[in-house]
């Protein structure tokens, strides 16, 4: 496949892109697709042939363009198994999403294992590890923002769909954690690294294409397990969370220990620093900025703006000694955790994908991760009630049960965290509350725009955080 022929694929891509789950800009209409980078991995006439491409997508709203990575496979003919992945026809070849092709995924794995460079692409094994040569890979279904291939329950390769200049924090932090022999993440086995011309032009800079990790076999995600527990509780009605069979507190406690270990390992690997008064002020200002953004869109936020701002300013309580910051997960929630038969793992260290890379790699307080997890327990507790028959509010006793579940598991998580970390996150209550409320404000904005049914979840928490003093209630003995 030479460059001119790939250009012929662009009209087909315009039709194909909006149907892909990882295509983030679903609410915008694509006006054009441009090829901004291309590297053949095999000769163009190989069967199958595969090439790496970076495309820039522009939209009818004339807003910023989005850039995505593709691995394009091509064959003279495709079998029925590949038909669902076909993008279009270029000359005498059928072009398709290469990850769907087991032969291509097997090739990519073997290139990593043998430490190969093809043009601008570097296939690098992680030093000191041995990736299993198994294959072909099988695409993982149901993913949101990236695309992964599983190799025989041994390894998983994730292709980052957004093409972002610089080292992807997911790869960066997994490398750091592997050096620490972390048991809290799936060990890194290798990566594919390429390059990209920055948005503003100039010389190409490095970019992370894909990452290869151990596959956490027989795992389930924390979000669905938490929902199982809440479902069990709400079906009981007259029993409290500590009395029902589906109690989650033991898991929440272990999860707290896992996250504390991740923080300790990240601090050891990449260091810590103390933010002085200026740094803390910047954090508070940034929170207040987000507050104003939300207040402009969410009435309930606007109505409490002053009270919320007072709590957010609690982050300045860290002024005296300075706020201890380090690299953190950055987008932690129950859905970013995996329960395996050996314990919990944290996954996806990319940070909030919508934020610029500079923000995502900036050291921040580990309390931001803790607060995000506490928020996630609230979401799990009230998720089913938010889905209650439209219009009607869930009965008060069920709301009380849900609140008890959230309290019990939030405090179990903090207990577990404190058992490993040198401090209990609740010792810095004002800072923790500020982070949690900041997150809730952001959620209120997000839900207003995307899932109005769920808006009650962050609003309820906001009200509690503004008027209450203890973000991990039920742990008053602490």
């Amino acid at each position: 496949m030479s460059a001119p022929t790939l250009d012929a694929l662009l009209p087909a891509l315009t039709d194909w892109l909006p149907g892909q789950r990882w295509f983030a800009a679903k609410d915008r209409t694509v006006s054009g697709v441009r090829l901004v980078g291309q590297q053949e991995i095999t000769p163009a006439d190989a069967v199958p042939a595969v090439a790496h491409a970076v495309i820039a997508v522009s939209f009818t709203d004339d807003g910023p363009t989005d850039r995505f990575q593709l691995l394009l496979g091509s064959r003279p003919e495709v079998s029925g198994e590949l038909e669902h992945a076909v993008i279009g026809r270029v000359g005498d070849r059928v072009v398709y999403d290469g990850l769907a092709d087991g032969e291509i995924s097997r090739l990519l794995l073997s290139l990593i294992v043998s430490d190969t460079t093809v043009g601008s692409l570097h296939f690098v094994p992680e030093p000191g590890t041995e990736a299993p040569i198994v294959g072909p890979g099988r695409p993982l279904l149901g993913e949101q923002s990236n695309s992964s291939v599983i190799y025989g329950e041994r390894a998983i390769m994730k292709l980052f769909r957004r093409a972002t200049p610089g080292l992807n924090p997911d790869l960066e932090l997994h490398r750091a954690l592997r050096r620490e022999n972390s048991r809290e993440v799936a060990p890194l086995l290798g990566a594919i690294e390429g390059e990209i011309v920055p948005d503003d032009g100039g010389a190409p800079v490095p970019m992370t294409v894909a990452m290869l990790q151990d596959y956490a076999a027989n795992s389930a995600d924390g979000w669905s397990m938490a929902l199982t527990s809440v479902r069990d509780l709400l079906a009981e009605g007259d029993l409290r969370p500590d009395e029902v069979g589906g109690d989650f507190a033991g898991e929440a406690h272990r999860l707290g220990k896992t996250i504390a270990s991740v923080h300790i390992e990240l601090a050891r690997a990449l260091g810590t620093e103390r933010l002085g008064a200026d740094g803390v002020a910047a954090v508070a200002d940034w929170m207040l900025e987000r507050l104003d953004l939300a207040a402009g869109a969410v009435e309930a936020v606007a109505a409490q703006r002053e009270e919320i701002a007072r709590v957010l300013n609690g982050v300045r309580a860290a002024d005296d000694e300075g706020l201890l910051v380090q690299r953190i997960h950055g987008d932690l929630h129950l859905g970013q955790t995996l329960r395996t038969p050996r314990g919990w793992l944290a996954i996806d260290f990319e940070g909030e994908p919508s934020r610029p890379l500079d923000d995502r790699v900036r050291p921040d307080s580990p309390l931001r991760d803790v607060a995000a997890m506490l928020r996630s327990f609230d979401y799990a507790a009230f998720h089913q009630l938010a889905e209650w028959e439209t219009g009607a509010e869930a009965p008060a006793y069920l709301q009380r049960r849900a609140q008890e579940w959230a309290d019990r598991n939030r405090s179990a998580f903090c207990d577990g965290y404190a058992a490993i970390a040198s401090t209990d996150p609740r010792d810095q209550l004002a800072v923790l509350r500020a982070y949690e409320l900041d997150k809730a404000v952001y959620e209120a904005l997000y839900e207003t725009r995307n899932r109005p049914n769920w808006l009650t979840i962050p609003l309820r928490s906001m009200a509690r955080l503004v008027h209450d003093t203890d973000p991990a209630r039920g742990a008053s003995d602490h």
Partner: protein
Amino acid sequence: MNDGTPSAPTSTHVAEPGHEVVEPSAEDFRRARQLPVEDDWYKRAVFYEVLVRAFADSNRDGFGDLRGLTDKLDYLAWLGVDCLWLPPFYDSPLRDGGYDIRDYRKVLPEFGTVEDFVEFVDQAHARGIRVITDLVMNHTSDQHVWFQESRRDPDGPYGDFYVWSDDDTRYPDARIIFVDTEASNWTYDYVRGQFFWHRFFSHQPDLNFDNPAVCEAMIDALRFWLDLGIDGFRLDAVPYLFERDGTNGENLPETHAFLKRCRKVIDDEYPGRILLAEANQWPADVVEYFGDPEAGGDECHMAFHFPLMPRIFMAVRRESRFPISEILAQTPEIPHNAQWGIFLRNHDELTLEMVTDDERDYMYAEYAKDPRMKANIGIRRRLAPLLDNDRNQLELFTALLLSLPGSPVIYYGDEIGMGDNIWLGDRDGVRSPMQWTPDRNAGFSSCDPGRLNLPIVMDPVYGYQAVNVEAQSNSSASLLHWNRRMIEIRRQHPAFGLGDFHELGGSNSSVLSYVRQTVDADGHRDVVLCVNNMSRFPQPVELDLIAWKDWTLTELTGGVPFPPIGELPYLLTLPGHGFYWFSIQPGQER
């Protein structure tokens, strides 16, 4: 009868002063017919634990006996079990359910005679059913003639048969097992004027296996019963045979060396017979009892997997597969000649030694709301009351028992969903008479009801008029028929007993799915897929079956073909507490 010491009557075998006791030999008895030697029968077998005392009374004395049990062999053959496990039936003062043996070569008079036992084994073998019996090697009753001689004559042939000490301070690191009743592992004997060592009750002195004569005497006891025709032993309390300073006295190398010696006797003199270890330890320690993996295992053929059982209960309560997944992931590979024994309930309490503290508290809270239901560190209930008599859960638990890796052991009465009597002392609550009919004494005995050794269960839910073999035999939808069918299905698929175990995982943490797979000498592959819903709510699950692409699934209880396996994850939906067993077979030619 009496050897002159101021103690209770002892064995009929009397020692002349300074001489050894003369004990009967197998030559004195008829021998049972033998089943053909099959090397791996214990890996495929369904075991059935039956208490002689509680099964059937042939002579109207209120005690079940060996002749009564023999009369019920047709029932057990009909049920389809392969091997009976008899807890101790030896002569005993019965202060610990017969685990306090007074004479290794005599049957408890209430149960019958050695001749009755030989006839029972012979009749079982005639029906293709094997028999293993409990043997307590660690200790005897304090009424055993060896102990009586040992306390009376420290310098006599039995003076060194037990572990004696001038004070009670040695081996401080050995834990006390029966914490409810025992304050120390040492008890003072006023006759000999020394303390004796006991890991269990103070009326059960531990034998001194550092004395070669004790080892010889024990191996001779094994030979006695093997010569009469039994198929093996369950070795009770094996981790505690030896004591060493500075250790907790469990799993010592000396203990393993002695068990290897016992195994060699079996291999050399009694091929096809087995040793089953009772070692209530973590799986990583228990695998030591299988012996050298290089040799395929040269100690016990089988060992109980203790921690699995409470984890099954916990998984269903938590609606999560992980309590089971975790313990199976922590279970090491075992030698190729070895097999786990697994169970849901047995004559002991639901043992909680092998769970962590918070899990134990949780199990108490969930399953023992009444403090009387606790015993030692466990819970004394039968399966049906533990599960609130919920038929769906009873079936799910049994399906797990019959399909997880290991040979299942069914506890007598659980096949009909019998209840318990928590008002009886110690562990007798789960040892009440078998319920055969709705007639007097539940058909267990025709004696005067007042003579019954233990009362029949009479409550309105589990009582003998509601729950009995006769009624359930007459209803094809009964739990008894269901159990029989499941045992039969299990027998048709060698993968259940011999297959390796691969957990499939899957997106839904409430669903436990695994594949059992074996290939026989002719290259015939048997693949069984088991899918279990731990939740009381209906659940979907997507399974990665790509390794069997284009193969077909056939449900095992009805033979219904399911859609063939394709590229995509295989979607199944299960009712609350539902389960499926499938056979996976190569696709039909089209």
